[in-house]
C-alpha cells in the first residue's frame, strides 16, 4: 500500500521541475507512483470512465434531448420521447418558432438586454474599481465599505423597493418601466463585479501608473491606456458572467418589462407554453439555449476560471 516499496519512481512525485519526467507538478490524492500500479490504476480508470459517462448523461443528456426534440414532431415526443426520430425529422419546428411565434423578436430583445447590461456592468466595475483601487480618494474607504456591505444584503430585500424605485426614479422622476434601462442600470449595481475588478487592480504593479503619471498622463489616460489593457483577463471574466447572467435573468425583466413587445425570451417562453404546440415550443427552448451554450463553449476557460474565482472571492 505504501509508496515506499517502489523506490524508483519516487523522485518525480517528490517535487516539481527537477526531473525530466513529465509527471504532474501538482500531484493529486493518488501519487504518481501509485498511478502506475495495477491495483490502483484500473479502479482509478474505471472511476474516471464512470464519472465521464454520468457527466455526459446528466450534464449533456437533457440538452441533447432538447436538441433532438426541437426537430421531432409533437406526437413522437409525446408517445416515444426517447426514440430517435421514429417518424423523421421536422426541421420546420425551428423556422416556425423563429418566425410565426416571433422568437426572432424576443431573441433580439434578450440580446439587447444582455449587451446593455454587459456594457453598464463593465463601465461601473472598471471605473469604480479604478477609483477605489488606483486613485483612492479620501472617501475611497467609505465607498469600498458601502459597496462591500451590499454583498451581505440578500437579493430578496431589494426586489420590491427596487421595483418602486424604477417606477419613479428619485431626482429624475421618470418611470423606467417598459424601458430597457430598467434592466440595464440595476444590473450595474453588482458589488461582486466591482470588488473582483478592484482586487485585480490592487495587484497590478503601481510603478507603471506612477511612471505614466510622471510622464504627464492624467487619471483618464492612465485608466484607459494602461490599467484597462492590463486587465483583459478579469474584464473577460466579468464580461462573460455579465452577459450570461443577463441572458438568464427572469424575475426582474418579468416585473419591469410589462410590454410584451419589450420582453426577453425568458419572460416570453413561459407565456408561449400555454398556446404553442409542444414541438414548436421545444424548438423555441432550444433556440434560447443555443447562444449561452455557444458562448460557454467559446469562452470555456474564462468561465471555469471565473467560476473558481467566484468561490475564492466568496471564500
Amino acid at each position: 500500500m505504501t509508496a515506499v516499496t517502489t523506490p524508483a519512481p519516487r523522485p518525480p512525485a517528490a517535487r516539481r521541475g527537477r526531473t525530466p519526467v513529465p509527471a504532474d507538478p501538482d500531484r493529486g490524492i493518488v501519487s504518481v507512483a501509485d498511478r502506475r500500479r495495477r491495483g490502483v490504476r484500473w479502479p482509478l480508470r474505471a472511476s474516471h470512465v464512470l464519472l465521464l459517462v454520468s457527466l455526459v448523461v446528466v450534464g449533456l443528456g437533457p440538452i441533447l434531448w432538447l436538441a433532438k426534440a426541437a426537430v421531432t414532431p409533437t406526437q413522437d415526443t409525446l408517445r416515444t420521447p426517447l426514440a430517435l426520430f421514429p417518424h423523421g425529422v421536422d426541421w420546420a419546428n425551428l423556422s416556425e418558432a423563429w418566425t410565426r411565434f416571433e422568437i426572432d423578436h424576443y431573441f433580439g430583445n434578450t440580446m439587447w438586454l444582455a449587451l446593455g447590461s454587459w456594457a453598464v456592468q463593465l463601465v461601473v466595475a472598471v471605473s469604480g474599481g479604478y477609483v477605489l483601487s488606483v486613485l483612492r480618494p479620501a472617501y475611497g474607504k467609505v465607498l469600498t465599505a458601502l459597496v462591500l456591505s451590499t454583498l451581505f444584503v440578500p437579493a430578496v430585500v431589494l426586489l420590491v423597493p427596487l421595483y418602486l424605485t424604477v417606477l419613479d426614479v428619485p431626482f429624475a422622476h421618470v418611470s423606467l418601466i417598459n424601458s430597457f434601462w430598467a434592466v440595464w442600470l440595476p444590473a450595474g449595481a453588482s458589488a461582486f463585479n466591482v470588488l473582483l475588478v478592484k482586487r485585480f487592480f490592487d495587484n497590478l504593479p503601481r510603478e507603471i501608473f506612477e511612471a505614466a503619471r510622471v510622464d504627464g498622463a492624467g487619471p483618464f489616460r492612465v485608466g484607459w491606456s494602461i490599467v484597462v489593457p492590463m486587465s483583459k483577463p478579469i474584464l473577460g471574466v466579468v464580461s462573460v458572467f455579465a452577459f450570461i447572467s443577463a441572458w438568464k435573468d427572469f424575475l426582474w425583466p418579468l416585473l419591469v418589462l410589462r410590454d410584451v413587445d419589450k420582453q426577453p425570451l425568458s419572460v416570453r417562453l413561459p407565456a408561449l407554453e400555454s398556446y404553442v404546440e409542444l414541438d414548436v415550443f421545444l424548438a423555441a427552448l432550444a433556440i434560447s439555449t443555443a447562444i449561452p451554450i455557444v458562448i460557454f463553449l467559446i469562452f470555456q476557460r474564462t468561465f471555469l476560471q471565473g467560476a473558481g474565482l467566484g468561490g475564492a472571492v466568496k471564500g
Binding site: 505504501t2 440538452i63 465607498l143 426586489l159 450595474g188 503601481r206 425568458s266 460557454f296
Partner: protein, 322 residues
C-alpha cells in the same frame, strides 16, 4: 505585498501635492487645489458607481427598511403604520406553510446537492487527461437559462407513462410517478431540477480549491502509510473545509430565496405544497394586491433570519475553519 500597496498611494499623494504648488503651504486645501490634484476627475470617474449603486442599491436597501413600516399603495402618500405590516404577515395563515416549504426545499437541496459536487470534484481532480472536458460537462447545465431548464424539466416530468422520466423509470419496472402533480412528489421534483441546474458551479469551486491543496501533505500522509480513503478523509476534506463551510451557507442563503422553480413548475401548488417565502412576497407585491409594505416586511424578516443564521454559523465554524 499587501503592505506596500496600501502604503504607496498615500505616500505618492503627499509627495505630489507640494510639488504642484511650490509656493503654497502644503496643508491649505482649496477647491482649486482639489481640482488640480485630480479630485474632480476622480469624482467624475466615481460617478457611474455612485449613481448606479446609489439609486439601485443603497437607496432601495434603506427604502426597504422604511417601507416595511409604511402602508404604500402608490396612490395616496405613504403612511406610517408601525409594526402593522409585520403583524399582518405573521398572522397570514400561509406563512407557516411557506416557511416550512422553504425550509424543506433548502434541506432537500442540501441532501441532494451538497455531497454530489464534492464527490464529483474529488474524482475529477484525479483525472489527468482532458480534465477540461469533465469540468465543461459538469458546468454545462449552469449556462442553460433557468427558465429553459425549468420548462424543459417540466416536459421531463410529464406524469403520463410516456413522459421522459417515467419512460426511463419504466425500463427499471418502476413508476409511473406523479412528479409535479402530487403534493409529496412536487417539492423533491423541484429540488432535483434546481440541483441539476446549480451543482456545476459548486463543482468548479471545489475543483479550484482542490488545486490549492499542498501536494506535500499527500506525500507526508503516504509516508505515514495512508491509503486513498484516509488521504481523502484526513488531507483533502480538512483542506477544503473553509470552502465547504462557505458553500454550505451560501447554498442555504440561495435556496431560501428560490423563486423561478416553484413559480414556473407549479405556481406554488398542488395545494400550496411548493409555495415558498419568495412566492408569497411576489404575490403580496405583484399578485394584484399591491401590498408593498407586507412584501418588504416579509423580505426583511427573511433577510434577518438569514443574517442571524449566517452569523451563528460563522461563529460556530470559525473554530474549525483554519
Amino acid at each position: 505585498m499587501a503592505l506596500t500597496t496600501v502604503r504607496t498611494p498615500e505616500a505618492v499623494l503627499r509627495a505630489e501635492t507640494p510639488q504642484r504648488g511650490p509656493g503654497r503651504a502644503p496643508r491649505r486645501r482649496t477647491p482649486l487645489t482639489w481640482v488640480r490634484g485630480g479630485g474632480l476627475s476622480t469624482l467624475v470617474l466615481a460617478l457611474p458607481l455612485l449613481v448606479v449603486f446609489g439609486l439601485f442599491s443603497w437607496f432601495p436597501i434603506v427604502r426597504a427598511v422604511v417601507m416595511s413600516f409604511q402602508s404604500t399603495n402608490l396612490v395616496t402618500p405613504a403612511e406610517w403604520v408601525g409594526l402593522e405590516n409585520f403583524q399582518y404577515v405573521l398572522a397570514d395563515p400561509l406563512l407557516p406553510q411557506a416557511a416550512t416549504n422553504t425550509l424543506y426545499f433548502a434541506l432537500l437541496a442540501l441532501v441532494f446537492g451538497y455531497p454530489v459536487p464534492l464527490v464529483a470534484a474529488v474524482l475529477m481532480s484525479e483525472v489527468k487527461r482532458m480534465r477540461g472536458l469533465y469540468a465543461a460537462l459538469a458546468y454545462l447545465p449552469v449556462v442553460v437559462p433557468p427558465v429553459v431548464a425549468v420548462l424543459l424539466w417540466k416536459t421531463f416530468y410529464d406524469a403520463s407513462d410516456t413522459g421522459v422520466f417515467n419512460t426511463i423509470a419504466g425500463w427499471f419496472g418502476l413508476g409511473p410517478f406523479p412528479w409535479l402533480q402530487d403534493q409529496a412528489w412536487a417539492m423533491p421534483s423541484l429540488v432535483l431540477e434546481a440541483t441539476w441546474a446549480a451543482a456545476g458551479g459548486t463543482v468548479i469551486i471545489y475543483l479550484a480549491a482542490l488545486t490549492g491543496v499542498p501536494p506535500e501533505l499527500y506525500d507526508a500522509a503516504e509516508v505515514d502509510g495512508a491509503g486513498v480513503w484516509r488521504k481523502v478523509w484526513h488531507v483533502t476534506l480538512p483542506q477544503l473545509r473553509g470552502v465547504l463551510f462557505v458553500t454550505f451557507i451560501l447554498q442555504i442563503i440561495g435556496t431560501a430565496q428560490v423563486f423561478t422553480e416553484p413559480y414556473l413548475f407549479t405556481g406554488g401548488g398542488p395545494a400550496n405544497s411548493t409555495t415558498t417565502i419568495l412566492l408569497m412576497i411576489y404575490h403580496y407585491a405583484f399578485g394584484g394586491r399591491g401590498d408593498y409594505g407586507a412584501a418588504t416586511a416579509l423580505s426583511l424578516m427573511l433577510a434577518v433570519v438569514l443574517a442571524v443564521l449566517s452569523a451563528v454559523y460563522f461563529k460556530l465554524t470559525s473554530r474549525w475553519s483554519s
